[in-house]
Each structure stands twice: as C-alpha cells, then as structure tokens.
C-alpha cells in the first residue's frame, strides 16, 4: 500500500483518525462494566432459557446469557422502543448487505418473536410497546430450525 504509507502528505489525517479511534477505544474500555453474575442474573438466565426452549429454540448456554445480559437485560432493555432505536431495528431487519445494498426482507416469525422474550424476562414493563411493534410486522418462516 505504498500510496497509503504513513509518511505521506496526509499524515495528519492518519494521525487524527488514529487518535480519535484510540480515544474511543480507551473510553469504551474505561466505561466497560463487567456484568455481575448474581443469583438474580442466573435465575433470569434460566427463565429466559426456558422461554426460548418453549418457543422452539435449542437450549442456550445459560452462563453465556448471564455474562451477556446480567440481571437487567443490558442493552436489550435500554429504551428499546424509542423512535431512533426502532428505526435502526427496522433498517437492520434486512438482507445480508453491509453497504448501500441493504434492503428490507420478510423476517422470520420465531426469530422476531424471540426478540420480545428477553424483555418479557428482564424488563416486562417495556414489553408491551415492543410487542405492539412486533405484532405490526408481516413475518413468515425463513430460518430452518
């Protein structure tokens, strides 16, 4: 990549980009909070595991659920139905493109409905609004279980 070498006329651009990304990474590491593996977290992970199995999914690793969702559902329960989060949620319900070819598809019914299960277990007060949004979707079966 000779034209992209650091000792180029655009080195300040590179340095600026690196500084910005490293700063973000440092902030991310500082703010990163290890999920607390409390009894409540284990209980909720077991409850969620039961819900998923009842919905026809293979049994998930409950330790992994504890580490990812803790006892409060983590990001999944952070204002899940706000306008902007819903917008991204709808945009991401798409094909496998990562560039401008992103286009919505007909999503899998069970996979979409499983999205509500975490709210049901971890933040049931937020489930109603999300369920309304899920009920508005047209879904089908596209994922082979």
């Amino acid at each position: 990549m000779s034209p992209t070498r650091f000792a180029s006329e655009h080195r300040w651009l590179y340095i600026g980009a690196i500084v910005l990304l490293v700063a973000l990474a440092v902030i991310g590491l500082i703010r990163y909070e290890r999920v607390r593996t409390t009894n409540e977290a284990h209980n909720k992970a077991n409850e969620l595991s039961g819900e998923l199995i009842a919905a026809g999914f293979p049994a998930p690793n409950t330790d992994n659920l504890v580490r990812a969702l803790g006892d409060d559902g983590g990001l999944a329960c952070s204002d899940p139905t706000s306008a902007l989060r819903s917008a991204l949620w709808k945009i991401n319900m798409s094909n496998g493109a990562a560039g401008p070819g992103i286009r919505p598809v007909i999503a899998d019914k069970r996979v979409v409905e499983a999205g509500a299960l975490v709210l049901k277990v971890y933040c049931p007060d937020k489930l109603h609004d999300l369920q309304d949004k899920i009920d508005d979707l047209k879904t089908d079966t596209t994922v082979r279980q």
Binding site: L84, R85, L88, I102, L137, D140
Partner: protein, 485 residues
C-alpha cells in the same frame, strides 16, 4: 480526469493549478483499489443478521455470488480494463450519453439516502461506547451524523490518495482484523469439542422454503454485492489499468466473499439463533459472542473497529459516484458550471457540498421527526431499486461494446460474455421485481400502496430528476471536449 479545461469563471492561476493536478491523477496500487472496493461493499455489520440463518447463510451468499457478484465483477473488470471513467463511460460508449448520465446519476443519487442510515448506525455504535442512552437522543444522532458526514466531505476533498489510504486502513482495522478474530475464536470454540449452536448438517444448507418470503430473502441478497463496480471510476489512477484493475477486482471478490461468509458462520457456531434474535442490535450480538470467551471487554474495541469500517465505506462512496457524475457532466454539460468546479486537489468539491446539504436536511428529518425515522427503511428499498438501473444498463452496454467495438483494446476479456451479462441482467431484473414485494416492516398495509410508493420513488429519483437535468442542460455548460449525445 481526461481534460484540463475548467469552468470559465475560475481564476486563471487556480484553473491552471487545478488542470495540472487533474491531468496527473494520483497513483494507486491495485491492492489499494481492491481494498477500497471491498470497503465499499463488505463489513461485519451484516454478520449477526446472517448468523441467524446458520449454515444456510453460505447458500444465501454463494447463490447471489454466482448470479450477481461474478457477472458484476467480471464485466466491470473487462470494461474498466478497456475504458477509463467507470460506469458513465461504459454506458455512454455502449448505449448513449444520456443513458451514461442516467447510470452515473442513479449510482450517485441512491447514496444520498444511504448516508443518514449508515451514520445513524455509526452514531448508535458510538453511543454503545460512550453512553447507550444516547442512541435514542435525536440531537446527539443529528450532531454525530453532521460531524461525521462533513468530515468525510472534507477528507474526500483532500484528494483521492487521502481517502484511498483511510478507506484501505479502515477496512483492515475495522473488518479484516476483527473478522479474523471472530473466525479464529469460532474455530477454537469448535476445537474445544463444543457442538455448534446452529446445526451444521447437510439438511441445513438451504434456508427454509416457504414460497414468497424465501424468494424475497434469496433475491434481495443479490444486492449484498452492489457497489463492486463503483470504484472503477478511479481506474486511471492505476499504473497499468488494463492489467491491474482485473487483478484488483478478483482480490476484492475473494475478500468480500470471505468477509461475508466466515464471520457470520463463526457467530452462528457460538451464539444460538434464539439469543441472536434477542439482540436488537449488532453490538449486542458481538457482546454475546465475546461473553462466551470471557472477553466481554472486546465488545467496545469491536465497536470502534466497526465504526472505522463504516466510515471507510462512506469515504469510498463519497468519492466514487460524484467523480463519475462530474466527468460526464464536464463533457456533456449536464450540470451547471458551479457544480463542475474542482478544488485545488482536483476534487469535485461543489458536488460534494451540494450533496451534503441535501443529506444534512434528510439526516435532520431522520433524527428529529419520528414519522420519518420510522419509515426510513422504505428509502433503502427505493434507492436499491434506483441502483439496479445501473446494472441493467451496464450489462446491456457490455454486450453492445463487445459487438460494436470488438477490437478495442481490453486488458481482460470475460469468457462467454453474453451469457455472463444475461445472467447478471436477469438477476438484476429479478431483484428489481422482488423490490416491489412488501417486506415485514410494511405490515398488513396494502400491497398496492407499497408498489405505488416504491414505484413513485423509483420514477422520481431514477427517471424524473435525471430527465430534468438532461432537459435543462445548456451547451455552454460543457467544459471539456465531447460530442453531444
């Protein structure tokens, strides 16, 4: 940049400097161009979405690769190895100049709606690092979109070399490194004797077939590879375009396939689809993946990497289509002289700024008006429909060029070009037709209404606006030599 002419109202000294820079385009290596092409098309953003399909994600990427990626890459490799300038030049030479303008306009116009959704994704990923609650904040989202977009415009205006470097490194740091990490960790997971979370048996190679929904999924995935031809506009920056562009395209093709398929598979080995579906966002999926390995602290690092890949992709899109639009407009006077002006680096700064103003307005509406953000997904359908016009024109132009100019020197010739073009054209036409099928987000609303919205958007953005440019153009707007179309 073929000519040294500049608009008449530009000061002479500045015009001479600009012309000198334009006459000597910056050199890119074929490897850099391959990385730019890969950055335009592929990133890890789609990996969690496709991991839900398990082993079938291989099918969902390979079939489109055969019928769409391969034709697009091979045909653009032949065309770029014979004609510099990109899609506008190919369609102009093969069909007509107005259709050449239509092709590059469609490639350019669809990006206007792409940037706000891309940058909204970046804003939400940054909020994951700083404070997740910000993801729901319109002011925060608007500020991030504005700052990143206009920084991108500024970087693009610094010249092709600047953005080539940043986009290549963005791909390496933001996609290749974390993608490799995901795959290695996935293999360690299997090597430890753990069963794959998604069944990896032959019966799971194909996605569930339920008729229209499955067809929509498969055909819409053709568009995963859209953009492979876009960076051909930089072909004149290669030392030996005839030999190097095909090489660059083949490398990009391999990288894109690997980036799409392997990380999605790795995630599906480790994180069950039920758990992936719980994750209403890309970062939550990575969080679940890294949590298994007790390296949850990697998630914010992965977030930074995804941000760098997304911005790298944006840079390539800012620079490519606008350059093609400029070149045909300078030759044929399709845009007013103001929009044809170049900055001291030979970059189409005024097109970028004008595009930026429109993008800013759209982004503000996205951030502050819930009614706009909630239906923003529909613009991605309209813009992909508009983009498909480019491919329909490109494949026809390639057949015509082979027939009408068989002896024109080309560095690479596609074997069985007509067959390849017919396959690519049919795949593009199928994607265009499937684009009128209402997706999940449209709910139970009327199919007719959906067809009217998508069709209306396609007509407005893809035909009416470029037709107005053609209708209103003036001979005096031509700033370089060229025959009127």
């Amino acid at each position: 940049m073929a000519s040294m002419d500049v608009p008449a109202d530009m000061p002479k000294k500045q015009a001479a400097e600009t012309a000198a820079r334009a006459a000597a385009p910056p050199r890119l290596t074929w490897m850099t161009l391959a990385l730019m092409t890969t950055a335009s098309v592929a990133s890890l953003r789609a990996a969690p979405t496709m991991a839900v399909y398990g082993l079938a994600c291989v099918f969902l990427y390979l079939v489109p690769a055969i019928v769409f990626l391969l034709p697009t890459a091979l045909v653009s490799a032949e065309l770029a190895s014979g004609w510099s300038g990109g899609v506008y030049k190919w369609v102009s030479e093969g069909l007509s100049k107005p259709l050449g303008f239509l092709a590059v306009w469609c490639q350019f116009a669809m990006t206007i709606f792409y940037y706000p959704s891309l940058l909204a994704f970046v804003a939400s990923t940054i909020s994951y690092i700083i404070n997740p609650a910000l993801a729901s904040n319109g002011l925060y989202t608007a500020i991030v979109i504005m700052v990143l977009y206009w920084t991108g415009v500024w970087v693009s205006s610094q010249g092709t070399k600047a953005l080539a470097g940043l986009s290549s490194w963005g791909l390496v740091i933001g996609t290749l490194v974390p993608g490799t990490l995901l795959v290695v960790l996935g293999m360690i997971f299997l090597a430890q004797g753990n069963p794959s979370a998604a069944p990896m048996t032959a019966s799971h190679l194909l996605p569930e077939w339920t008729g229209l929904a499955s067809l929509v999924l498969i055909v819409n995935n053709f568009l995963s590879y859209s953009g492979m031809e876009m960076n051909a506009v930089h072909v004149s920056s290669l030392k030996n375009p005839a030999k190097e562009y095909p090489k660059s395209m083949f490398l990009a093709m391999g990288l894109v396939l690997l980036i799409f398929i392997l990380p999605a598979l790795a995630i599906s080995w480790v994180v069950p689809s039920g758990q992936l579906s719980l994750t209403a966002g890309v970062m939550q999926a990575f969080d679940a993946f890294f949590a298994y390995f007790h390296i949850g602290w990697m998630t914010p690092i992965a977030a930074v990497m995804l941000i760098s890949a997304s911005l790298a992709g944006m840079l390539t899109w800012l620079a490519g289509p606008s350059k093609g639009l400029l070149e045909i407009s300078r030759q044929e006077g399709y845009l007013p002289p103001y929009l044809q002006q170049l900055n001291k680096h030979g970059i189409q700064q005024n097109i970028l700024v004008t595009q930026g103003i429109v993008t800013t307005l759209i982004a503000l509406m996205y951030a502050f008006i819930p009614g706009v953000s909630s239906v923003y997904w529909i613009f991605s359908t309209i813009t992909t429909q508009v983009y498909l016009i480019v491919y329909l024109l490109m494949f026809v132009a390639a057949i015509r060029l082979r027939k009408n100019q068989p002896d024109h020197p080309r560095g690479y010739r596609v074997p069985a070009l007509t067959l390849v073009c017919v396959v690519g054209w049919l795949a593009s036409a199928a994607a265009l037709v499937i684009g009128f099928v209402p997706p999940s987000q449209f709910g139970s609303s009327s199919t007719g209404a959906y067809i009217a919205i998508v069709g209306g958007g396609l007509l407005l953005l893809g035909f009416l606006i470029p037709w107005l440019f053609l209708k209103l153009r003036k001979p005096s707007w031509r700033t370089t030599g060229g025959e009127s179309g």
